[in-house]
Subunit: 204 residues, 2 copies
Amino acid sequence: MVRAAAEEFDRFGYDGTSLSRISAVAGGLSIGAVTFHFPTKGSLADAVRDEGRAVTLAALDRLAAGRRSALRTVVDLTLELVRLMERESSVRAAIRLGRERPDTGAWSDAWLPAVRELLEQAHEDGQLRTDARPADVTTLVEHLTSGAEAYLRARLGSGLDYESAVGQLKRVWHVALAGVSAEGHPGLRQPAAAAEEEQEPVLR
Amino acid sequence: MVRAAAEEFDRFGYDGTSLSRISAVAGGLSIGAVTFHFPTKGSLADAVRDEGRAVTLAALDRLAAGRRSALRTVVDLTLELVRLMERESSVRAAIRLGRERPDTGAWSDAWLPAVRELLEQAHEDGQLRTDARPADVTTLVEHLTSGAEAYLRARLGSGLDYESAVGQLKRVWHVALAGVSAEGHPGLRQPAAAAEEEQEPVLR
């Protein structure tokens, strides 16, 4: 039911979604069954937001536990966030609900503080160019992530073929990292430890 | 009346706006006076979109007529676009209507082709770093502009103090340009001719 609700909130927004419509698309649940668990639309929206945040935080924890540099972790995280936007309606719904319901809180509240800390760490570790201040790189990350979401939302459901938002962001990072990283492209120089991880190389 | 409509479409979107509400906020015009000029909500939305695009194209023409380098013109244009987002409800409405009404066409259709051409020119003129491809820099520009709009929309009308979106974008360009420009920061090295222009220096 939370999954059906996520798809509705993602597609139609908070105002455009009703409990009766969710019960109809959730495999024909009765409205009574829906309201037994979620007495109001707001409570169901909160559950969807919590699901979208939990998925996001799991990705963050997974990446933060890796052995890559702080800067590399930030780049990988942004790519993973955009991958989640592409695949998880709960994440897209959490983003949209954060915009449309002031009390919901922005989706970026779930991960932007971690990015800020990682970039402070990258700065301390000498991974950032001298005039790339952590606060400015944090703002860059925020802009790129919002830009990827806007790109995706304009194309989802349009029926048109389009480049994946993850592929786009990789191309953008390839350019921007040269302005951010003291080493140029950290993705191009993987330490042996990182090469053992299961993930594909981020930047080619 | 178009101005009143721009403010309504900007704040409440296409579905959330009605001709009767516009007539009420447009200095108490009768609904008959509104429908005399704009028989449908769609025709008024088209007029608002045209106004937002005209304002945008005027800024583009003004900057393209300047004597700055192609790359510098792109940076200045993005800052001017974000300045227009902050000041002009018709521009914000054109952006929002482009998202919410599929037939309206995206606002970026008005200026992104010019950015693409300018960046091809910058590439030919040797202003881009060797591995900063014009297509990738165009995508970067699109992401940064969408990111600035998302930032602004989350804060407009919130009643909270916030950093100007233009100020944010200047900080972001300061970092990203080092990855884009063959010279580092073209804004920091103004030719004598450019210094005579009336505009403030973009990057400090």
